[in-house]
């Protein structure tokens, strides 16, 4: 679901094809019939943005028919835990959970906690990956029989009780019998002998309910006992070579390496407060080591200047206090609050939602540095943006100073990428780059040297961290090519024991006293034993099924996360067929095919001593070692801003009213109403008919994201040479569109012109007494390259998930009309009239009073 694996991850899809040939059943749920659907045993067409309704239906089917893997659920999930009395569900509050603050469009999550457990409020972007901690009582109140009305299991049951097959059909447009077929197939592959794997991609994440989509999938998998077991799991297929790595070692505003939170201005004034907020009393699991992780990081960053006396330099870290995400930043550019922008290997002028917003931001900078392999729209916006035609950008009046620096390619530098299953693979350098082409490591090194030189004599305290920054990596190359040796950088990321100068072998060796330095605790072990483990290349035909000697997978080179769950509570494999790890009583340790997720000598029945914290507090049957309670969370008492359980909300722009609740859309979604970012009206607002169709955008196999790595290559461009929009024959008749003719898709943001593809792969949906049409376009084109086309992302507005601020770019509403789009200065005028028809001023957008952005400082 939410993934087009065959098209977007073709080489990964070989394993699906192989499983299918061995008898696995493949089900594809998607708004579009794709190349993945073509090979599925069952294809289910769904309305874009209704995945939670579908998955909620599956959960209801499981719970209503007692099809959960009860032994697993009882032992490894939080099903038995009791939730506080104050908690009120969406069933009680018509689509809202308890604690909603209407004026601020956010929740006070204190009522969602476990009975008797302490509580720390959940606020967006403030807690890193671990979420706020749980103050654990010695024992959480629970009902192992799962009968207590306030136990998670019963809450879950009640919450999803109205997600019936009829409701799924009304919301998703999936006929009941087809839906039930999926339910039967999914639940049949559960239990001791069987598992099912769930695959998703940005079809799930790019929604105002992105995080909750994945939660819903995880709940199904937990109920069916499909987590931590071979053949199970929830797989996120990620879209860029190192997108996983750039989240682990984040080039993200809200995180420090290893999913530690960036210090927050209010909650983390000093190191003690920061660590206190991370490590609550009695909390189980590995987040308890956050002190060692952070202090080791500070030691790596500031070296000898980081001392216990100065909080290891904590005070030098900048603080966040809200949304500093890319869209917020772009709007600040338009407002003149951001002066300079560095863009590396990314093409926001084409690849980000609301491209016009992006380009207007770029046009209002003082300077812009673009580093890439080829010339691309983000660097050339001042001469070829669509806004030149409309007169919104005039080259002679655009002051942005642009530096384009050619970058080295993946074969012209060594380093690691972290792939979608968390595996780091070392790349050897094949050749030197030519001309001015340089690696990004070179760029940052040279930039650092220049900045350091300029600040040598500064006495300004704000320059201290730069003056004290430890930057003594081994250098390679000489003169104009001098750059840090990536091997040495990786070694520092892995971490060093400063008392011996040797690498540490795992995160457990990190200490909070400043005697270890580590760039990313999660990557501890990638350079264990002074060896670059990511460079291991033992061929797969020379090793076992989990191939531990190829690359290195975080954490600790284990290939299946939470693999304690692959054995039953007594440590025996659930079945011979599905064995991965098991307790060997004779040897007194865990054995099997993978690296255990926990100390190998912890017996299955281990009960930690009173007062234990952190990893030591984990019981022998607590597989979910990162959770504060060691359990898989069917109900998330902490960590999510928009509710402890996934709830079906309509997309921000939807053709229909939410049939389940009075609350139409995610009440905490992030909206950015401003003139450059208007929204289409949705029910219950008037004039939804102006944009009657559901719009979605996606990738093709033959191109790569915003196109800079494919639109310039003849061998790829010829395979998909032109932007097209796919419509069903029915919609084609309704709008008078002909195959290969020209049409334009319109939203309140923009109009995009494309060739029409009339295909049976698109089909209308019948739901809630009406027919809903969906259209989709690939989004790879822009004004430069061998093949060019309109920027599809211009159609999309910016509205975001409250947890992670990802934009809802997989669903919006639109209209489609035959013929070319208006050109010249016309489009804005034409759009204004459309917006006028859509009701009120162009900026009004959704008037749902429950969603307002958090204020900027």
């Amino acid at each position: 679901m939410g993934s087009n694996m065959a098209e977007c991850h073709p080489v990964g899809f070989q394993w699906v094809m192989e499983a299918k040939q061995r008898g696995a059943r493949v089900i594809h749920v998607d708004p579009r019939f794709t190349r993945t659907s073509a090979h599925a045993d069952q294809y289910v067409r769904i309305r874009a943005g209704t995945d939670i309704a579908f998955l909620g239906g599956v959960i209801n089917h499981i719970l209503g028919n007692d099809l959960d893997f009860r032994e697993y659920v009882q032992a490894y999930t939080n099903a038995a835990f009791l939730v506080r009395e104050e908690f009120a569900d969406t069933e009680d509050l018509d689509g809202l959970f308890s604690g909603y603050e209407p004026g601020r469009a956010r929740y006070d999550s204190s009522s969602w906690g476990y009975e008797g457990a302490g509580h720390h409020p959940t606020r967006p972007m403030e807690s890193g990956m671990g979420g706020p901690p749980i103050d654990m009582p010695a024992r959480i109140a629970e009902d192992p029989t799962l009968q207590h009305p306030r136990c998670v299991f019963q809450i879950l049951k009640r919450h999803f009780s109205r997600y019936t097959p009829e409701m799924v059909e009304r919301i998703c447009g999936v006929p009941q019998d087809r839906f039930l077929e999926v339910c039967r197939a999914w639940t049949a592959n559960s239990g001791r002998d069987r598992t099912a794997a769930l695959v998703y991609s940005v079809g799930w994440t790019q929604h105002t309910v992105g995080a909750q989509n994945i939660r819903a999938g995880a709940i199904v998998q937990l109920l069916l006992g499909n987590v931590g077991r071979p053949g199970g799991g929830v797989y996120a297929l990620r879209g860029h070579a190192n997108i996983q790595g750039s989240t682990d070692i984040p080039t993200l505003f809200d995180l420090l390496p290893g999913y530690l939170p960036m210090p927050d201005a209010d909650r983390h004034p000093d190191l003690a407060a920061y660590l206190d907020a991370m490590r609550a009393r009695g909390q189980k699991g590995y987040w308890q080591g956050a002190d060692a992780y952070l202090i080791s990081l500070l030691k790596e960053w500031f070296g000898d200047a980081a001392t216990p006396e100065n909080d290891f330099g904590y005070g030098w870290l900048p603080r966040i206090n809200g949304d500093h995400g890319t869209y917020r930043t772009t709007m600040d550019m338009i407002d003149g609050r951001v002066f300079g922008y560095l863009v590396m290997g990314q093409n926001p002028a084409v690849g980000s939602a609301n491209g016009r917003l992006q380009r207007l931001g770029l046009a209002n900078l003082d300077w812009l540095v673009v580093r890439d392999l080829t010339m691309l729209e983000t660097a050339t916006f001042w001469k070829d943006a669509p806004e030149i035609e409309t007169g919104e950008i005039v080259p002679e009046q655009c002051r942005t100073e642009v530096f384009f620096l050619p970058a080295a390619s993946h074969v012209e530098k060594a380093g690691t990428f972290t792939q979608t299953q968390r595996m780091l693979q070392w790349r050897e350098k094949a050749v030197d780059p030519v001309g001015d082409q340089r690696s990004d490591a070179w760029f940052f090194h040279q930039l650092h040297c220049r900045i350091r030189d300029r600040l040598t004599d500064s006495t300004d305290p704000r320059d201290e961290p730069l003056q004290r920054l430890a930057w003594d990596y081994r250098l390679e190359g000489s003169g104009a090519h001098e750059e840090p040796d990536p091997d040495d950088v990786l070694r520092h990321i892995n971490g060093l024991d400063l008392t011996t100068g040797r690498t540490v072998d795992g995160a457990a060796q990190l200490r909070a006293d400043g005697t270890t330095a580590c760039g990313c605790w999660q990557y501890c072990g990638v350079y264990a034993h002074e060896q670059n483990q990511a460079a291991h290349r033992k061929p797969h035909d020379e090793q076992g099924p989990y191939d531990p000697a190829w690359g290195w997978t975080w954490p600790g080179n284990r290939r299946v996360l939470y693999n304690r769950a692959s054995a039953d509570p007594d440590g025996r494999p659930w079945s011979e067929r599905k064995k991965l790890l098991w307790w060997d009583p004779a040897a007194g340790r865990w054995t099997g095919y993978d690296v255990p997720d926990f100390p190998a000598t912890t017996p299955p029945g281990h009960v930690p001593p009173e007062g234990a914290r952190g990893p030591e507090a984990l019981r022998g049957d607590d597989p979910f070692i990162m959770q504060g309670d060691g359990k898989g969370w069917l109900f998330a008492p902490q960590g999510l801003c928009d509710g402890p359980l996934p709830t079906h909300y309509e997309p921000h722009e939807s053709p229909m009213r939410n049939p389940l609740y009075g609350q139409q859309s995610n009440p905490t979604r992030r909206v950015y109403p401003r003139p450059e970012n208007p929204y289409n009206p949705s029910p219950p607002e008037a004039h939804g008919e102006v944009f009657p169709f559901v719009l979605t955008a996606a990738r093709l196999t033959e191109h790569h994201t915003a196109g800079a790595m494919s639109r310039q290559l003849p061998h790829l461009s010829e395979l998909q040479p032109e932007l097209f929009v796919e419509v069903s024959p029915e919609l084609a008749r309704m709008r008078g569109l002909t195959h290969l003719g020209v049409a334009h898709v319109v939203t309140s943001r923009s109009a995009v012109e494309a060739r029409v593809y009339v295909t049976d792969r698109m089909a209308p949906l019948r739901l809630d007494g009406r027919v809903v049409h969906q259209v989709w376009l690939p989004y790879h084109w822009g004004p430069t390259g061998l093949v060019t086309g309109d920027v599809v992302n211009d159609l999309l507005g910016v509205v975001a998930d409250p947890n992670v601020l990802i934009q809802e770019s997989k669903v919006a509403t639109c209209d489609i009309r035959r013929g070319p789009r208006p050109h010249g200065a016309q489009p804005t005028g034409r759009l204004d009239s459309l917006r006028a028809r859509a009701g009120g001023p162009a900026v009004a957008g959704t008037t749902s009073g429950t969603a307002v952005p958090r204020e900027m400082p």
């Binding site: 094809m17 090979h39 010829e718 395979l719 097209f724 089909a763």
Partner: protein, 347 residues
Amino acid sequence: MTSDAVTRELAEPPDALARANGYDEPPPRVGFFTDTSVCIGCKACEVACKEWNDVPDDGLDLLGMSFDNTGMLGANSWRHVAFVEQRRPAGQQGDGWALLDEMTAEVEPRLRAAPRGGSELGTTPLPTAPGGAVQDLGMPTFTRPGDGTGAETRTDFRWLMESDVCKHCTHAGCLDVCPTGALFRTEFGTVVVQQDICNGCGYCVSGCPYGVIDRSPLDGRAHKCTLCYDRLHDGLTPACAKACPTESIQFGDLDELRERADRRLADLHQQGVEEAQLYGRDPGDGVGGHGSLFLLLDDPEVYGMPPAPVVPTRYAPQIWRRVGAAAGAFALAAIGAFVSAAVGNRP
């Protein structure tokens, strides 16, 4: 396959074809087995082929044939992935759908208007169809989609993909008619154009019953799949087969590939995929069987391939007999003309 074909095949050692073409101690005959039932239409084969063989792009034109913008095999496309959209369920024999769907109806007249009938697809955009586009085709109508709520809603649909390639025929029309010996049978039993020899006479283009080989307008020579002849010399797998993510393209000794194909066909039939069929498997067919076998999920013509082609060389004896007779008649006519003129001149 007819029984005498089987006998013949069993009697033939794997290197028989190469031996017959003058090689001592040749390696076994090699080929492809393209199993379209696992093709995901990613086109890696097309790109890998072009990267290895330095084949130029084939034009940047949208053809409107589902996701196929290559069109057909040609001088600059040695692998071609075909995409067929069908309103019938996969794995079940339908009752013969009248093929005229919207896409075909729009593309077909444009093809007719194209130079060489679209033989150079990809190098030029499709012209606008004479008389404009077909709007409503009066095709068999369904209940309004979405009207129903059960099994009758429109979901029976399948999307076939197939990576087409040179067939490396046992009896190769292109090779037989080539007047320069540029096309030749290699020691691996494959058919290759020698670029240092070809003078672009174009005869092979018309000699091929599959429409595979073509003359490049860029360099005037004929080009097609070489089965990576250079790589074969170093024991490497051809580029397309190596890249193929799902092993839809398999490379190997032809003997073994035939067995694999038979097994796969039996498996699919057992799974109820009745329409699965092998193409080019039969050494008794019109071209003596392919070096590159295919497993198809519909008739070959649905993928743009001839259902039962015959190598033109098979007609050669008959043709030369008729030519001989005609030449004789011509000679007799000449003699007759002089005789009759002489007779006529005699007073």
